[in-house]
Subunit: 192 residues, 2 copies
């Protein structure tokens, strides 16, 4: 356990503790059981995200460690992600209904990002850690889980308890303790 | 003021109050000044959203009521949105860097959705209301604000104080008081 690990963002304006303290670990506890109540709350938070015309384009695959589904998701991850994400108690695929009756859904990806953000905020509030990954084989996920062409897998989120940071291999520990950085808000303003 | 208006979601699992209570109003106070501190906190929350390889693809245009920028954004909104969103103290355009050095950025839209979600969560915690719109002329926004081809406007968010729901025109009041609904989580699970 790393109860003293403080990854709180150094913010320029006050924000909710849960938003400042949330970060994306790569060091998960490989044996701690999944907190099912916390997972249910995180999914529920995702459920109540806003979306264009309330279309709710998000779709989820929840793969728990030790199941065939988990092994199938792990097999789609690129090597570096496999090396640490396999430890997480769950891998949650965030997918979107990107097509309905042949019509592209222009806000499906954006809105699924919103649902994922709600998930992570609630997960952290409930004591879970999360890390989203883009490095996986989308076609392999679609094939393994029989997804139709209208559903696009977007990210895989590792979800679970924080692992032993001090005892983690050097490359992971180093990344974990590196300062958290973001561009300033001023540098994100355009068109002014 | 509508201090007794309760739009709290009826959740199947406990979630943070701010996530349950956040909803997308269409009734903004047309005269209340913008709470600049709350806006700064909401932008700061967006700043600390996660993104693929920390690319931070989000870009913002902040258009305050009474400015030329505000009028320019209003002019791009489709008619129904114009009818209510013009009242909001600010219109914030969420755009994404969808291309870098000619390479498409596959997670830019999703990650900007995450930043928008962080913004809305913090905004509501800070007493602001928000409503995201997809109904606007993207090309007109790009032209009005001189955005390059690498930046794609995704949504316009109305941001401000809640208006007088009881005194609002019938079609708006009716939508405002309609029950909030979402598909069940079970219906969002795929591939199981």
């Amino acid at each position: 356990m790393n109860l003293t690990l403080d990854r709180t963002a150094s913010t320029d304006a006050p924000i909710l503790d849960v938003l400042a303290e949330r970060w994306s670990t790569r060091i998960f506890d490989p044996v701690a059981p999944l907190d099912e109540a916390a997972l249910a709350s995180a999914l529920e938070a995702a459920r109540w995200a806003p979306s264009a015309n309330n279309t709710q384009p998000w779709r989820f695959i929840v793969a728990r460690r030790g199941t065939e589904a988990h092994a199938a998701v792990v097999a789609t991850l690129v090597g570096f992600n496999q090396s640490w994400a396999t430890d997480a108690a769950a891998l949650v695929v965030f997918a979107a209904t990107t097509e309905v009756d042949g019509r592209p859904q222009h806000f499906a990806t954006y809105d699924t990002g919103q649902a994922a953000a709600h998930f992570t905020v609630q997960a952290h509030a409930s004591g879970l850690h999360t890390h989203q990954m883009g490095g996986f084989d989308r076609a392999a996920i679609a094939a393994a889980f029989g997804l139709g062409a209208d559903i696009t897998p977007l990210t895989v989120m590792a979800v679970g308890a924080l692992g032993d940071v001090a005892g983690a291999p050097e490359p992971l520990r180093e990344r974990e303790l590196a300062p958290r950085t973001r561009r300033s808000i001023a540098d994100s303003l355009v068109g002014a």
